[in-house]
Amino acid sequence: MRIREMTAFRPAMRLGSNTLWQTLLQPLFLVSCAVALWAISLPGVDPRNMSDLGLVSVLPPTFFAALAILTISFGLTVFQEAVSTPILLLHMVLYIFMIHGTPQIVYGTLRYSWAWKHVGIIDYIQRHGSVDPTIGILNAYHNWPGFFALGALLTDASGFSSALSFAGWGPVFFNLIDLGALLVIFKALTDDRRLIWLSVWFFFLASWIGQDYFSPQAMTYFLYLVVLGIVLTWLRMRQVPSRQSIKNWLRFDRISDSMHTLMQRANPEGVVASSATPAQRMGLILVLIMVFFVIASSHQLTPLMLFSALSALVIFQVTRERSLPILVAVITSAWIIFMTVGFLDANLAWVVQSIGSFGANFNATLINLSTASAGQRFIAWMDRGLSAAIWVLAGLGLLRRVRSGSWDLPAMLLAVSPIPMLVLNSYGGEMLFRVYYFGLPFVAFFAASLLYPTLNAGHSWHTPALTAILSFFLLSGFLFAYYGKDRMYYFSPQEVAAANYLTQNAPKGSLIVDGSWDWPLQYKNYEFYNYLSIASLSKSDRLKVMNDPVGVLSQWMDDVPSQDQVVSSGQKVYIPAEPTGSGDGDDYPAAYLIITKSQEAHIEMTGLMPAGSFVKIEKALEQSGRYKVVFSNQDATILKLIDPQEGPSS
């Protein structure tokens, strides 16, 4: 298809020749306006006033005006064939800073509680110089420590005391490097630079999943894109294989014939793409082996996605390196067998149980709309609508591409290759999101193909207008979907101060009870403490706490439970190998309850517990006389059990 596009006749631009104004001055002027509006929109934003619609609810009109101008400018710029790459790059970089830099600038604290936990694992490595694969809490991270080892190296080598110093800029960094990898991929799929840049634009407009924060998956996703970029650019099949060679590979006549027909249609000229020299090929495969090793040691899901993608490319003869999926499988299996025994001991049962449960794995991702707040129901429909919209656009784009003779077999395969993962596992209720995310680059490519299906198409004034309209449509969904949960993802400096108080004052072995896991927890000395989240309890246990907070919580906070008690009550409690109780050996040295603004927001937004539940619990404990307030500010309260040994039992 590349050959077809390269040799296609290009009609003269109907809008006349490109002028300096259209290709340089106009985009620079519009981009400058967008930057100015963005800059003046940020100082007045108060994230404390966020509603259930998230950050969008407190951003001023100037912020949206800045995005609108940038969108219009991009639509006009990408349309111009003579526009230089730096101008297009400027739009993309600015978009990434505006979307992903804004929360960091406005909040000033690390967004999203899981990012704090990742900082906590790096803190563990900095202090211990190793990981503990048998540790009871956040166990998976110790078994796949690649990203955290890198984080610890970066932190220590830079002279920082904690990864908190730079983790907040993770989304900006990861999106910027993803941009480079996406350009490599799209350049391998088409020679039409309008299609290349619009695909990148649509990718970032539909990438609402939020896996770009400071996390192993963000790093391995970039490496996943790089692997695909290398394979599609340098390790492609030189020409469509003969019917006989496909038969030798696939054995069955009918399948081989169908495959040959499909591949001929996908590559009518027979010649597919440029390829690497033998020396380049050898070097690239060595690099790929190192990449596979880092992916396998850093994240559980990405190797499976990579295996699926590479297998599809090998089966359909897109790449001639048939060993690639085998290498991924061998390296990943070796890592799992030899390095993750501690994790498998504790988790193998549920991993095996969820294999084949397609329906359950699918539904586990979607939030329960019957209990969520009205705002969150709206957000859920926006993110579902955005996901559906980009797939519908991609379907229409694919039709246009096929009608014009471009079958784009590699992109088709890679758009659907993550889907089989839904059969494997629910992945903690996130599998559907991940499937969407891994297929998104290729879905975005087809969605962009709707506007620029061939080099000959998309030259009328309708195209920039339609680009702007579709971009506004996707952007409005994206802003709600991406920022929609920020009322619970934002942690105020006061909440961080409360978390700091605990890490500085709670003795080793203490129990830290929280309303929900949604606060800046476990970022420092995390293995010193035991944890219990009320919102993570079973429904019956949550009811017990609500009905008798003093009795139930005092009993739990008084004594270290046995392993049986922990399992039966569904508590997320980490029991240290040697409890360090101060009394009879069964007590925690201290027990705290921390309630924060973001925890309240979490239960209100998800409907896990009635609104105001934590305030009621907090007041009941205060009034009981058995707890004292040891820390309090406008966003957080910490209560400490005064004398655990004399607590009433329910």
């Binding site: 490595i125 110089g129 002279g159 350009l183 790093m219 070097g283 190192m290 880092v294």
Partner: protein, 126 residues
């Protein structure tokens, strides 16, 4: 001898390795040390190695340089963590050494290649 972009990359890697060494050894003020270290660790190992492949596309080279740097840094850090020999100083030293070695090799190839070309051109003229 004309400085090509491959050699320019190698020189940048070499100077960055030197700067990272100084940042590690000298008590530089905080704002500069992270900038130099991040720049070096995230780009330079790849910039020193990837030009060996002779890709003609700058974008591909840049993305691969970044990916290779991340992969090399992670591999070194992971090795230290798994083997329980954690030492950021020695880890960084190893990465600096490997990068400097690759950059020197690039520069040597450039000088040798240029000198050889000049000799061949002279022979051709005679």
């Amino acid at each position: 001898m004309k400085l090509n972009h491959t050699t320019l990359w190698s020189l940048i890697s070499l100077f960055s390795a030197l700067a990272a060494s100084l940042a590690m050894l000298l008590p530089l003020s905080i704002p500069w040390r992270p900038l130099i270290t991040f720049w070096f660790l995230l780009f330079c190992p790849g910039m020193a190695v990837i030009p060996f492949f002779h890709f003609k596309d700058r974008l591909t080279e840049l993305v691969l340089a970044l990916a290779f740097s991340i992969v090399l840094d992670t591999s070194v850090a992971l090795l230290m963590v798994v083997a329980k020999i954690w030492s950021p100083f020695w880890g960084l030293t190893l990465i600096i050494s490997l990068s400097a070695l690759a950059a020197f090799a690039q520069i040597w190839i450039w000088r040798y290649g240029s000198a050889r070309t000049a000799v061949l051109e002279n022979e051709g003229q005679q």
